[in-house]
Amino acid sequence: MKLAVLARPLAALAIAAALISVILLALGASPVSVFEALCEGAFGNWLVFTDTLTKSTPLLFCGLAVAIAFEGALWNIGANGQLLAGAMSAGALGQKLGGWPHAVATPALLLAGAGGGAVWGGIAGWLRARRDVNEVIGTIMLNFVAGQILSWLVHGPLIETSRAYPMSAPIAPAAEFRLYFRPSRLNLGMLLAVAMAVACYVFLYHTEKGFELRAMGRNRHATAFFGINTGALTVWAMTLSGALAGVGGASHLAAITHRLYETLSPGWGYEAIAVALIARLNPLAIVPSAVLFGALDNGAQAMQRAQGVSPVLVQVIEGLVIIILLVFDTSAWSAVRDEA
């Protein structure tokens, strides 16, 4: 049974690869060398591999955020904004943490990130629970708002001291994450993300609250009928979801960028939706899923350098993988519909 579960994603990848090969041949490039370059760029050596992991970490945090919300049938499209909200909170606080010891500054930063993201998610949750505002609209709108606030912050109140570039001053060195095995950029963030994945799994499948959330996602009526407060649960779940994305933002800031700037997130919150769906919302499966997408993102640039193929092609590959996996999941292939 376990092997069968792996078979589908692998088969989907194989089919996607085959389709891409056809496109590449038509473009006059050699599929084998392109894929080689992709793999080299993602896993070729230790440095590159750790870089892949670095790129996967925000995807992992956001993927977990999406999964938690989706399990409750709360369509959180706002992981990006929640991540930015977390990054902004951490970025603002981080500058003030100069005198503090590392052991205090780090958790403080992460808490700030969680708090910022939690508020951002919580607003959308509240709007849904109390005002029946569709959370898809709510979270997307809040994404825009977060983006604008970030823009304002880095041009205005938080702009760095020379006032030459639209980015914030760096966070205090005490607040930065240590990097292990230099010159790689392995950091605490990855470990934290994996730990969060395990925690989310335990939460969803082994706790009462997690059960309530999954029940609400599958049948809101029955859940309410048995006295579970679905309104409160909605707000709670969106808050938790936002917090996860926010920690992702704080973590990335603390480890890699150290400053706030407008293009902090290349759309992780949206990519994370694919990451979560491919993993069928299972937090443990989201780990390899995030690494897969991180690898594709990382390999894209190497692919361009080595073969002159546009990195946009990687987005095509990702899109194809998603579509093919979804096709594999439909009832056309199995009698799933009959079991429902």
Binding site: R214, R218, E339
Partner: protein
């Protein structure tokens, strides 16, 4: 009033050959042959879990058989597509109504065959009202969303919608279980009318008396196989029951009043009122349910029963009045368990496993299955296993999805869950609906046992026979108002009048 068999063996309209269907390890149908002829009303009877719903789902194109095929007028019917079946002229109405809850009835019907080309609500309403008039139904007021209407009205709308397609074959799954006595006769007459028009009507029912009254031929299913096919005029209830069950059973006709001890009140309702805007839904309901007794509330669906259940379950707060559930001294019973009417919507989460559905019950979570917020899976699974054995629920195990159980087994599960941890009181709303004779009898025995051991039961039902067989005290609810009626030597005329709201005190 039975019709003689029409046509010869050559005008088979709908025929099925060697149909086999499995769901995982359960064999739902094994080599079933079936045929229905021109202008015939064909009843399909059997216990719950016999395979009736599966068979008609295959006819209507909703399910694909693993083996075997279906033909309509001699031509094979493509399997697995409900729209194809509908286009060929097979329309079905199922047990759980499938309507768009947030739309009004006229919009729901517009999705039927009333306005094939252009969406003209005016003609839809006119045609629908004409058809409803023939049927003897009254349609609800326009513009009210369907989710506010009662289960009975929804089923009627579904039947209307199916008929709007002017189907060759109309399949009805337990349609009469929610009809009031006044609506039953016109409905049976309509079925005969449809048969006279040359249509085939396939009626799935467990009510043998109705099947005999209206059908031409009856097919009996048992554990996925056809045990017999009979002309209605040549058989009787006892024989059909025997064929269904495999043994002689006594039809429940007892109306003895079960004895009970006058213990303290277990549940008290004091002037419970519920208003929604201007509308008075519950009107100063005062009721005392003593421990060890079964109190019945009779009434036609839509008179406040749903809301009463919601208020007692704590899902809805009453506008005024109070509900108290007493815990008797020295008694470990606690709490109120509710068995809702619409089990698939309010009672179960079909996409979760059975042991997870158990966790919905607050008492299961609080008293057994959780430890500081963590779920104790083995405890819950064990309880589930026990319940499945005690209540004879057929399914592959605690990990089976609730949706994989047949309707009757789902009902057994919902009742089992309610009884699982000895609640002080149970509120049961229409629990025997759609169940066959032996399953219904079994359920009633459980309720009696529960009461005999000191529990309190509030039984809300539109089945007067059931209420008279079980209850110590009887009320009638009409427009949110309760009126008690005499339980010894009940005056059925008076009860009927109260139920229809004719006599107001």
């Amino acid at each position: 009033m039975r019709q003689s068999a029409k046509g010869g063996p050559d005008d088979k309209v709908l025929a099925a050959n060697a149909i086999t269907k499995r769901f995982g390890r359960t064999v739902a149908l094994a080599g079933v042959d079936f045929c229905a002829r021109e202008g015939e009303i064909h009843a399909l009877v059997g216990e719950n879990g016999a395979g009736k719903s599966t068979l008609i789902s295959i006819f209507a194109g909703r399910l694909r058989p693993d083996y075997g095929h279906v033909t309509l007028d001699g031509a094979a019917l493509g399997a697995g597509s409900a729209t194809a079946a509908l286009a060929r002229g097979i329309a079905a109405v199922y047990q759980s109504p499938m309507l768009f809850e947030r739309m009004g009835w006229e919009e729901n019907l517009a999705l039927g065959g009333f306005s094939p080309q252009r969406l003209n609500l005016g003609t839809v309403v006119a045609d629908a009202e004409a058809l409803a008039g023939e049927l003897g139904f009254t349609l609800p007021p326009r513009g009210v969303v369907v989710e506010r209407r009662s289960v009975a009205e929804r089923v009627r709308l579904e039947i209307l919608r199916a008929l709007s397609f002017r189907p060759r074959v109309l399949i009805l799954d337990e349609p009469t279980s929610v009809l009031s006595p006044a609506e039953l006769q016109p409905f049976l007459q309509l079925l005969r009318h449809l048969g006279n028009q040359g249509r085939v009507v396939i009626l799935v029912t467990h009510k043998l008396a109705e099947a005999l009254a209206v059908a031409d031929r009856i097919t009996v299913l048992r554990h996925g196989r056809v045990t017999a096919e009979r002309q209605a005029s040549l058989t009787n209830e006892a024989e059909l029951a025997r064929l269904m069950m495999g043994e002689d059973i006594a039809l429940p006709h007892s109306t003895t009043v079960p004895s009970f001890n006058h213990l303290a009140a277990a549940v008290e309702l004091d002037k419970v009122t519920l208003k929604s805007g201007e509308r008075l839904i519950l009107d100063e309901i005062s009721l005392t349910i003593a421990a060890g007794s079964i109190v019945g509330v009779a009434g036609v669906d839509g008179n406040g029963q749903d809301e009463l259940v919601e208020v007692m379950a704590g899902v809805r707060a009453p506008t005024s009045g109070s509900i108290t559930v007493h815990k008797l001294d020295g008694d470990s019973r606690d709490g109120l368990a509710v068995i809702p009417q619409n089990r698939d919507v309010d009672g179960l989460i079909l996409n979760l496993s059975l042991w997870e559905n158990l966790l919905l019950s607050r008492s299961v979570r609080e008293r057994l299955a959780t430890w500081h917020g963590f779920i104790r899976r083995s405890q819950a699974a064990q309880l589930c296993q026990d319940l499945m054995r005690r209540f004879r629920i057929r399914g592959s195990g605690p990990k089976a999805l609730a949706g994989s159980l047949s309707g009757g087994n789902r009902q057994r599960f919902v009742v089992a869950r309610a009884l699982a941890l000895a609640p002080a009181a149970i509120i049961a709303h229409d629990i025997c609906r759609g169940l066959d004779l032996s399953a219904a009898a079994e359920l009633r025995v459980r309720l009696r046992e529960f009461a005999a051991q000191g529990g309190a039961v509030l039984l809300i039902s539109c089945d007067l026979e059931e209420l008279l067989a079980l209850c110590n005290r009887l009320y009638v609810i009409n427009r949110g108002r309760l009126t008690e009626v005499q339980r010894e030597l009940p005056d059925l005329v008076e009860i009927g009048l109260l139920m229809s709201g004719a006599s107001q005190q």
